[in-house]
Symmetry: C2
DNA sequence: AAAACAAGGTTGCATATACAACTCAATTGA
DNA sequence: TCAATTGAGTTGTATATGCAACCTTGTTTT
């Protein structure tokens, strides 16, 4: 079932020079580590990030959360909804410009998760090494500046 | 609506030291660039990666695709389905161990996209700089070794 | 003050992704 | 030979994500 024509760009282009692909592969590898450590808590990194960020600020405009995590506003709406349904987060203020806050239940839950999140981070850093960690910081800084 | 208790880990832990979060932020930033360039072709990076990887091999076991892209087998099944529905990819061989192949339609489509994918990559590399590119390569190598 | 605008939230829709459970075919062992 | 095992694909289910369209409210313009 050979191709009928030649496709020079397809043949001669290396898909792996792609910055997006390199980052996608990297994050899939790292997510394996984090999922392993977080599994017992039935929490994902997306949810834990929200809990930790909001928990640290205690109370913050929803719009701010989106900016900090670089997530589309509709994504924030729905990610928060899952946490609100579980009682970990509440919304206050006008429905238009809501303020989101962590609850005691959410804070206690997060507090229990953090040691495992730390273990995952340690495992990732052990693989990265000091130079790898610095390299990742450089990449992040350049891309989000 | 203050919290009733103190949560020392939550208060004292910096969420941003997280390797997964750093990579997530990085890829969200880069995806903006790639989506901008790929928008006119109505293709996503996930789909383009599949097209480029399969197109370059012409014919490859489905299981190999998953390994190369580090994607769960069920993800591959469904990502491929979308491309098969569009006529860009075909499956051959036993349903059990299928061989996936790019079609002429898929190859011609990919051929047209590659210049814009290249432009996106160039834009990303301009932001990263040479040191950023090397840093990303280091991170990828450490994490996928 | 009424109309226009802008900012931010929500909903509809589509894609991407993982895990668990199931299926199916080939290989292995008794 | 036939049963057990194993590897790989598929399907059910759930989460995560972005864009476009719409809604709501507060501000600005005329």
């Amino acid at each position: 079932m050979a191709l009928k024509k030649a496709y020079p760009l397809l043949e001669n282009t290396d898909p792996w020079i792609c910055t997006a692909s390199k980052l996608a592969l990297s994050i899939r590898s790292v997510n394996v580590i984090y999922r392993k450590h977080l599994k017992k808590h039935k929490v994902t990194m997306s949810q834990l990030s929200l809990l930790m960020v909001i928990g640290k600020m205690v109370s913050v405009p929803q719009s701010e959360v989106g900016k900090m995590l670089k997530l589309e506003k509709s994504t924030i709406t729905r990610d928060l909804k899952r946490l609100i349904d579980k009682g970990h987060i509440v919304k206050n203020g006008p429905a238009n410009r809501p303020i989101v806050e962590i609850t005691d239940k959410g804070a206690a839950y997060t507090e229990k998760i953090i040691p495992d999140w730390h273990a995952a981070t340690d495992e990732a850093l052990a693989i990265l090494g000091n130079d790898g960690e610095q390299a990742l910081n450089l990449v992040l800084n350049k891309l989000t500046k």
